[in-house]
Symmetry: C2
């Protein structure tokens, strides 16, 4: 199994047994996540931007307007960035307040931005991005015209350093506490897609797409 | 309606109409969020930590082990931090690829850490934190003993600067595209609590708590 190297920046020092460095796990968490938070530094001050993204091979991609100040800044100044995604998969209810926890999967990536100039790469990214949001969608929609392509900026981030941190399973209580008359267990949390809501001005007679069923 | 002042750091410059500065909206998004990502800077490099938190009045609180290096560092060096939470509430499927979007609510807070030393405040924070995770839980569990209190560090963050960014509603397409034979609308996303899973070694005869029903 291929792994990311453990570095000063990515080594999990708190609860190291929860650290995961294999690429398969890191990629699968990234691919399931609908958005990331991107952190960067300006004048010593940290900033965070939540944004959609997709992964292709060992690169993450974000997109935005060519007018986006922060995106231009990231690419032009080669600012170091930290990108993270987190899923909270469950509330872990222990018998003691102290041992309450959560089940989660998180990934932290360190990289820097490169502006994507290649038109083929740009097109592929937008297709992957759209189909990540909604599988099957790209083939169904009006594709970007020349003006829209020109208005779109895409940045790539080579996944130079990365680690995941994962907790699964039930509560771990102190030995003495297992005998207490307190319910313990896990409340699973799940992000669900609900029934799609058609646009108010949807053209009459348009079939509901198979990929949304 | 009380508002946070708009500052250089919190002004929404991209799509400013989505910017929201009233405290009620900012607080309600923070209170619904089960975790935040906290960004800080070490040697010019941004780092992010996903962590649970709660809000009391105009302060955010996180907790962890007294051994947590980053928490000690935040408090001792008074490092500037950026804290964010994000909900993705829906996929906005427009007729054109270009106008695809997402409905979301996000908050970004700028602050710095103060270590909570007051025992009363510490106790209140842990109670609010636990009941935020699972309403009703605190009264039901074994409370921290002296050693557990000693092992717990709580940091507070005064919400000095904050803004929210919110998108709601359906797709906005170019005029010419409304006549295309393409389905458009919103796929709502929702974080759901599923059926609780009892601990494998749950003591027999323990009633399922009302607050989990």
């Amino acid at each position: 199994m291929e792994k990311f190297s453990i570095t000063d920046k990515t080594e999990i020092t708190r609860l190291p047994k929860r650290g995961v460095y294999d690429k398969e796990t890191v990629y699968s968490i990234l691919d399931e996540a609908m958005f990331c938070t991107l952190a960067y530094v300006r004048d010593g001050q940290p900033f965070q931007i939540p944004t959609g993204f997709c992964r292709i091979d060992n690169k993450l991609y974000i997109h935005g307007s060519v007018g986006s100040f922060y995106m231009r800044e990231l690419a032009e100044k080669k600012l170091p960035v930290c990108i993270s995604v987190t899923f909270m998969d469950g509330l872990v209810l222990a018998r003691s307040a102290f041992h309450h926890s959560v089940n989660y999967r998180s990934v932290v990536v360190f990289s820097e931005a490169t502006k994507v100039e290649d038109q083929g790469e740009l097109y592929t990214v937008l297709e992957v991005f759209t189909n990540k949001l909604q599988p099957g969608r790209w083939d169904d929609v009006r594709k970007p015209d020349a003006g829209e392509w020109k208005a779109t900026m895409v940045l790539s981030f080579d996944i130079q350093e990365a680690s995941a941190k994962v907790r699964t399973g039930g509560p771990k209580d102190d030995d003495d506490d297992y005998n207490l008359d307190i319910w313990a267990g896990v409340v699973p949390l799940k992000i669900e897609r609900k029934e799609p809501i058609p646009d108010d001005v949807l053209k009459p007679g348009i079939a509901f797409p198979d990929y949304l069923k």
